[in-house]
Symmetry: C2
Subunit: 420 residues, 2 copies
Amino acid sequence: MAHQNLTPELLEQLNAAVPGRVYTGEDLNPDYARDEAPTYGQHMPDAAVECLTTEEVAAVCKLCYDSDVPIVPRGTGTGLCGGCVPTHGGVVIDTQKMNKILSWDLDNFAVRVQAGVLLNDLANACQEKGVFYPPDPGEKFATIGGNVAVNAGGMRAVKYGATRDYVRAMTVVLPCGEIIRLGGEVTKTSSGYNLLQLMVGSEGTLGIITEVSLRVLPQPGETFSLLALFSSLDEAISCVPRIKMSGLDPQALEFLGRDMVVSIERFLEKTVFPGTSEGQEVGAYLLTTFECARGESVADRMEWAAEVCLENGAMDIIVYDTPEALRNAWAVRGATLEAILTDFKLNDECDVVVPIPRIPEFVNYVFSLEEQVGLAVRASGHAGDGNVHVNVCANDMDQAEFLTRAEKFMTLAYARWCRQ
Amino acid sequence: MAHQNLTPELLEQLNAAVPGRVYTGEDLNPDYARDEAPTYGQHMPDAAVECLTTEEVAAVCKLCYDSDVPIVPRGTGTGLCGGCVPTHGGVVIDTQKMNKILSWDLDNFAVRVQAGVLLNDLANACQEKGVFYPPDPGEKFATIGGNVAVNAGGMRAVKYGATRDYVRAMTVVLPCGEIIRLGGEVTKTSSGYNLLQLMVGSEGTLGIITEVSLRVLPQPGETFSLLALFSSLDEAISCVPRIKMSGLDPQALEFLGRDMVVSIERFLEKTVFPGTSEGQEVGAYLLTTFECARGESVADRMEWAAEVCLENGAMDIIVYDTPEALRNAWAVRGATLEAILTDFKLNDECDVVVPIPRIPEFVNYVFSLEEQVGLAVRASGHAGDGNVHVNVCANDMDQAEFLTRAEKFMTLAYARWCRQ
């Protein structure tokens, strides 16, 4: 069935269901047309509704469903895959004001939130309560609903897993407006099919997540970071399984190539990571964070971590254990995308996971495509779980040409991998 | 469509597909009629096929599907829910000989196995390779395929999660005989809907799992166990969130009521756990296992664990740190079901998870049903994740009467909980 346009009747019904929070025409926030990636263009919706409750979302879904008008759920719009872009018009369901932390159950290690709560706000609230919500994707101002919808990963996934591993239950509004509750407020459930995990990562295509019950953990022990310098990416990645196998259990384990660091430091206008070690050029870095057990001295674990890296190919190591040193070191990793966006006008990216030992093979392959597709390639990512972020970039090219080349790049990169 | 019976034609086709491993009549192993619970009765299949490969399973599925003959996948038959009982006859697909560990990828922390590998064999093989497969359900001679099909939990779920958390990929034969591959050999994947996790816990109703890729971990540090004595179950359970919050991160955290321990010790014919502490009667126990970090002394963590228990209501604590002491202490927990089966001729059980702080409320409620339904009730379980094993038992009663009363009990127990 073809999508229908918003009618005056439907608009009236929406206004009756969600009085005062239905927007059209010039009252529409222009941000509703896009997400954070330029790739998907700008498409304004016919209307947007700011919902406050599950019931309001359900009412809007039902009305639009009955009228064959498309709906597009939207949190803070920080996605990079066009998920919230209303390419067919219709009604944006904005969950940003569903931003209440509904309840804490600390003896059961649970927190229940509305889907529009920001990751940053949840992380801070957990800290205040003395608990810890581990998922830590790069974008801190995404909503929890969005995080669950895309199964957001991030730096700490190497130790703690992704968002999926923290979702115990959720309330979902199905496209027809029916409200369902999946999972339970308990640590384990084996009743029926696992529709909860089917919903996680379904990117809004199966329903709109309106409430989520999340598992939290006790706060971890003291942390410190360590930068290990290697002569090449191969050497750096070979060290990764050794670090994991040692029992050090890193909280974060990131890799950066030297060329990427050069471009980030140019953006930051300062040198943070050494470019040579005893006269030899550094080819790649591992930036790691380790947690101490209670009662364990930071010095002991540092020595252990340093030993493991140096015995497994590191040219040298640098320890960061003051708040300022930590901030500076992680600012390099954190500025990856900004540095790329400063160097290049055009950018597209892919976010892939490969078996850990094959990171160098994959990275070398994508670099080998630079000449073939005529785009610059940048790569970095989560070495500890094989998650590589690859950017293709250009200046001096029109957008259409760039998109064609980027698509060619993506096709080649994925095809090479999937063939094996 | 009604189920059809096995025809001579189909039997011939099965023999052609899996030569020499199709059994009928007197060649059928009588165990095929049942699982480990008496509740589901005895129902022999018309035939059984011992498969060695995914392709053989697929061939059998397709033949039976095309003939409308029921199929029943079966591992070692250790289930307690009738999953492998051929209540409608048909063909048992026996996966016990699909017992090969197919490949190790230790740098990627992965092992790929056929579904018929026993948990016990996998655990030993991991130890030999210097890695660790955390799921540890009570039954060590179940197959991995069965563990995945029911999302088996167990003692270590409090720290490490259930089987679900270790499945990266699997090969599944759909009822029609189509072979599909779900998930990937990587640590994370967000491509498409998560059908992998939908299959985990689906109990053979969506397809037959023939191969599984599992995540393994580095081996944990040194472990020891600690028994904490409490005056009541309430006191014991109140301590559980405090232990978890402390950062001690127990590997196991089990509760046992005094009455359960008395009956187990009668079965074991020895006293293991003290029944009094300084003249006061013990009402309940927490039996815990803790892991040390590398470099951390066992004595330090013991002192820490003892302190947390004693500050949070324990009357006394006993430490087990020699192999023999550990074996004796855990033999008590391990003998729960055997002790019940010795005391009672008739037994049925439910395996439920409730929010941790509500364990006493649930346990007290199920005990309050003893008189009402006229059955003895026994309860124990995983305090750390709220997972309670409840048994209803009787002697001097015919089976039909017992099943009626057990069903009444289950209905009341579930209803009470679900209403809230």
